[in-house]
Symmetry: D2
Subunit: 467 residues, 4 copies
């Protein structure tokens, strides 16, 4: 539901947050703005009215009036240009604790009395608000998934191109053994692809919410005359919106929210790991990678700030604690509607969606533009002399000269010419010392892992709406 973002109707003292302190999300969060949420709230209300018609209860004329008055397009696009003023709603929402009650009043006031009776009929505020958040989340998650897919494409390309470019692997900050640039990138790719799969699974199952005052659907049954008809109404409502029909209301069983939250956090973990590596590899002393469009500094032109990585890391540091709040809210979802836990979800889920939207978009750009400096990679690879393959030397030489002498040899080699020391060993006569010390000859399954990861990476949906 791309949000058209109508001009904000805000009172003079209303706070306006356009992202000044959130560069990672600024420009990527229109889909979760208050305007977009309002669109979704209106969409949920109109969908309920349409569902009453679909089950044969509401007269077509009333539904047509409601749908056209509030700009209903379809279950994917929802309502646009509905004309409900955001600012008024916010002011009214504070008193009642949620924006649905004033919204219902505003909607009813704009249609005929006959049509008005079919608006919000039998529903509770939570039905509309949960459904609206699901709609916003569905569209935002689709956008996140598309950005992650673009990131995968970029990473798969990088992994293939640099499949056999040998580099120093680092463990606990220290050069350990050789790896390849491709293997490193393939690891990033696996993380992103796993997060895509989880997010796609979650968003495919996002359920509508419709349970009435306390989740029994009693008012629907009363209005429609039977429990069966009420059950059909729930299914019709979900169908109108293209959402999954729930087996029962989930007013206080909040796994749809926590599973969504977990998937979003996982996506931020995946791009956070990439950003952590890019920031490190961009260090002045390392310089193996550079962001395509690094943040420069006019006063300090030698700087090539990994600006996108910095933003991605800032998002990844925040997301897990937001996910934790969603879980707490689930555990504390008391009674048939909780006394605070539910309200804690709204801004938390929205901020998590914002972070995922912004971070995944930045990740797509970052990976598409990432430059590998082959010379720096090679220079670092050579920095410790042959010691980077000391594990290999230990494996090969121990049977020939014993473990103690291997250790002595490697210890002596710090700063010395290891190749010369090895060539001087009678036991190694006939051994190709240059090959033995060649990092490229000690990369194990690095290429295999690249090939497997690239092959397993799902293509983005081609030519159709990823939603």
């Amino acid at each position: 539901m791309p949000s058209p973002t109508p001009p904000p109707d805000t009172s003079d003292d209303g706070a306006i947050d356009v992202g000044l302190l959130s560069p990672v999300t600024a420009g990527h969060d229109a889909g979760v703005s208050d305007a977009a949420v309002l669109d979704a709230l209106v969409t949920a209300e109109v969908a309920l009215t349409r569902a009453y018609s679909r089950v044969g209860a509401a007269p077509g004329s009333a539904v047509t009036e409601v749908a056209s008055t509030f700009g209903w397009q379809d279950g994917q696009s929802g309502c646009r240009g509905h004309g409900v003023a955001l600012g008024d709603l916010v002011t009214a929402a504070v008193a009642g604790g949620n924006p649905v009650i004033p919204l219902v009043g505003a909607l009813k006031a704009r249609v005929s009395p006959e049509a008005a009776t079919w608006i919000h009929r039998g529903a509770t505020s939570q039905d509309i608000l949960d459904t609206a958040l699901v709609l916003v989340a569905r569209d935002a998650a689709a956008e996140v998934a598309a950005s992650l897919a673009a990131t995968s494409v970029a990473l798969a390309h990088l992994a293939r191109v640099h499949r056999d470019e040998v580099a120093a692997a680092r463990t606990l900050t220290q050069h350990a053994v050789p790896t390849t640039v491709g293997a490193r990138v393939a690891g990033w790719l696996r993380g992103v692809d796993r997060a895509r799969a989880q997010l796609n699974a979650v968003r495919a199952a996002l359920p509508a919410q419709l349970g009435g005052a306390a989740g029994t659907a009693a008012a629907f049954a009363e209005h429609l005359g039977s429990a069966e008809a009420a059950a059909a109404l729930v299914d019709a409502y979900a169908a109108e919106l293209g959402l999954a029909a729930p087996a029962a209301p989930w007013h206080t069983e909040r796994w749809p929210i926590t599973e969504l939250g977990d998937a979003l956090v996982q996506a931020l973990d995946a791009v956070g790991k990439i950003a952590t590596d890019v920031a490190t590899l961009s260090r002045t002393e390392i310089g193996e990678v550079a962001e395509g469009a690094g943040g420069g500094s006019s006063a300090m032109p030698q700087k090539q700030n990994p600006a996108a990585s910095v933003l991605l890391r800032s998002a990844a540091l925040r997301a897990p604690q937001l996910g934790a709040t969603l879980h707490l809210a689930a555990a504390l979802a008391a009674d048939e509607r909780p006394d605070g836990a539910w309200h804690a979800e709204w801004p938390t889920l929205r901020e998590l969606l914002r972070l995922a939207l912004g971070a995944s978009a930045h990740a797509a750009r970052l990976t598409a533009g990432l430059r590998i400096d082959a010379a720096a990679v090679a220079e670092n690879l050579a920095a410790t002399g042959g010691l980077l393959v000391s594990e290999r030397l230990s494996i090969v030489l121990t049977p020939l000269i014993g473990g103690a002498r291997v250790r002595d040899l490697v210890a002596a080699a710090r700063g010395d010419d290891l190749a010369a020391l090895l060539r001087a060993l009678p036991e190694l006569e006939g051994t190709d010392v240059a090959d033995l010390l060649d990092p490229a000859a000690y990369t194990g399954l690095a290429g295999t892992f690249v090939d497997r990861s690239v092959a397993a990476s799902p293509a983005p949906d081609a030519g159709k709406d990823p939603r």
Copy 2:
């Protein structure tokens, strides 16, 4: 891998934590004790040796020696009675930052030189430690899943028995409309069953870890002479342990850990929601439920503390933040082995497993013993007079007498006799006022949701090891 827990070999100043401050986990955490982790570490090492034999590299005699020396049973039970002293290992582990390095030394010292060469061959500490944590998690998660399954059985029984017992539904702490005890319990059941499904999916896919110093498996390839043989070794190692073979090492792609953590937190959410409701419904003024074996007080015999609910809630309040730490560790999994993030996972995942083990066991007992006080349920249901069905009155009466008069009527009824007021209305002549005010006639789909939830609840694995 039920842990036999050998007598602890601890130095005099070693801290001993047997659960004094953790009543929710005490008595349920043997499977994640240091002794159990040590068993799993030894198991992982022996499995690697066995894998070398399975791919035709290690001589049978060496493998037999290693396996018998350290008490190998099979891939499920692992090694028992291996004789490695826990206390020594802890002391040595501090210096190196992890316990695997001293463990390898201890193991090699106990077998022949020939056999010793096949121990830890080509592996890195993280291979063994990650695999050991996965083994411990697999067994603990199986126990959690079994407890959740028992909880489901108890809840399904409760939901069926109390399917049509009408009760007051509460929203934002206030009586709202009628529901049923069964519908409330069915909600708990859906939460538990969803958590079971997620946990079972995660534990079925838990991967072994084997990548060597920096995840390229280069040392294995060097030892075995080819990349293909190294790939086969990884598969053989996973097969020895009954774990999934990873497509590539996940040294710094930590979704197997975060997904496990998320599933455990979700399980704690589900039982936390139950406990939150039971604690509320046990309140002196409410008294609708009582734990079967409540914590009494000799000085205050009127108290029936919901002791299990209190413990469950304490666990549910802690778990989300532990899950957040696992996500942070994933996002900060720098390089080819991170500088702190990996180490942050170990105690965090263990505590999360402990909480899930203890809480799920308490939940199974709580739900099996939960008593419903039908009289209290009925008394509370009647507490607001007919006002509990005021939503229904609004639906039925508004067409007859208009919304304004309905509101006046309901306002007047506070403390008055609502039935008499209704019977006095000429517009309601012929209406069955008693039925109109009967909460049991306004429960909508409550019974349907019970039936659906019970029917959808998977039976526990019958007669076979749930692992």
Copy 3:
């Protein structure tokens, strides 16, 4: 710095957040809006220019031009009506990762070349952004402190009025022994007063930030010709803003932020505890308290939702995790400016300020309007018969009849007439059984604690700006 909130200059696709999903903060967050932050950024820049004049470096004409162009008022009110367009800045901020770089360009473009050279001279973005956040926090914290002070006044009044109103104390959800309404409220008061004290201590010490590119102040020394002059400039800058002069820059020593965050979370804990109790005590079955302006429900008129408590609890459930993010950012504040941790602070601190602003304002209103239902208090007090004083019976009777008989007696009393049972005991001849069973005679130090707490509660600053 009350924010005048100029009309937002946002591009069509900019997200607008006016609080639709944040009823707890909506209407209370103008002071931390993007507009307010922008005011503070401009204020920090102008203060630096003024500081250059104060130390005798910048010509008065340049400073006068800068100050008047951007609406400088004074160190408390800062700049108003500066005319910098918010929307343009946000767009430009994304590219560079922070809004200061484009801001400097925008400011310089509006003054003469001579004056422009004194803008941002020697400063780094972090100097301006940190200082601006401190300014915003100072003003917001003053507002929070004022709301907490109002809450204290209301609580002290309540505690005094209900000092001796006996009520059932509840532990682990069960009636335990008597307490008083006053004692309960006095506990709330102590929590709020402690939070006030902590917050006031933190805000009195909030430091300015001025260190230049990497915290050495080298550029200031270069511009001014000496280290001493640079040190004086830092002091002058702080003095211009009414902030504490830092001993050294705190670019990557972030305790000023975490201590502020901790104090804000503590304030939310204190009001969260009140809200938790009010929500419980408002339950339909308990009904001891009611919010003055409860959220009603047209369809369910029997409901008196504790709407403010629900909002307060939603805020208190979110705040601790935001505080945790600030601590993580402090621990990960790498190098001389970190690669993500700093950026994670901005929106997190702002959201925490928002929550504290909204929640403290709601708490002030909630406590000012809280109604105690004396009849319900008395009814609940009597609910368990004399068993509420069973602890007292045990103390008094055990010496007379032995512990075993006391236990039997109390057990028998459930549902029976305890007074009659006691009067039938020969050992109690002469004892005033009515007094023995009177809860009012067993409230210990409840009154003392009220008196102490009220006496210790500091009065709000009278007649002067609390900032």
Copy 4:
């Protein structure tokens, strides 16, 4: 209270945690072990008995019997060798939800009936458990403070020694301008000293807990005959233990716990920042610092793992979320004793104490042994040629040749000889180009900040117990 750690009395299936998965805390956590907590629980009980004597109520003989039976030493050392079996207690604790109830039974069984009546007289479990946790925390916090003080000493020494050693400052991972090693270390020092001050303030004010069943002290008043005597008892109890006397019980006003938690997290932030920098500066490509006793690798001798930094970072990544749990528990401290929130504090606070104990000890060792590699510092300083002082060039040259030409010059200098370019400028005739390009001439207030920080660092308590 150094814990003598009696031999653990654990059942065969009891979990034993000696720290296998917690290398950062292993060996440092004896003071918070179950045995130490048990000591403190016994200490609190004996102190209450002694307090009854101090106020003139209990006969000296009874108190002497109790004190001697359970090994009372004094208020600092508490009880030692009390002979209560830990394992039995744990088993019994699970049923009742806390260990105090079985403890009281065990204590009473070991003294005469007369003495037994003075044990736990009028107290509630929370009085004893909260006080015991405070005692454990007091001693642990003293140990943490001592380790932090040692860290300060080491850092102050390092800062002084390397006061003028010029180094590259890094912002957003990139070389920015010069700084000094001393200035960097002085920043670490300020962070540690601030954390010390906060921790010392908190531990000096740690209050005893004594309120009886619901915080009214009614049972004490009943036993002692007056409210005044009960108030005196509370003061006497605190005096026996050397703790602050609380103005009122804090059963559900939990700021003493959250403030302690915040101070511990702040300490972990401070050492986490050091570890983050040390890990970065230890990187193979940077190599400016090395831990004195780095973790080596036999297979990879080129590695000098920053093992202590890794452990410190793992602790710092975990601590904030534990602190958040304490805050949540405070906000949810319902009624007069909460239904879960209190229980959530126990293991959380203990783990936070453990982390602070271990991390502060490692930090003291790390900083005492930290080696600065002057050659590497110098090499990195020179890595970007004169570009590291490009900010200075901009300041100096802009007035001479204009900003545009400065930018061109600096851009041209990448890889070129900047000094030669400068000397070729006619406008710079007479300028000392070597000095202009000398990083040592552009360190601003770096030395001043070192001097201030070292001068402000409080000396550790000399010759007396820091407790």
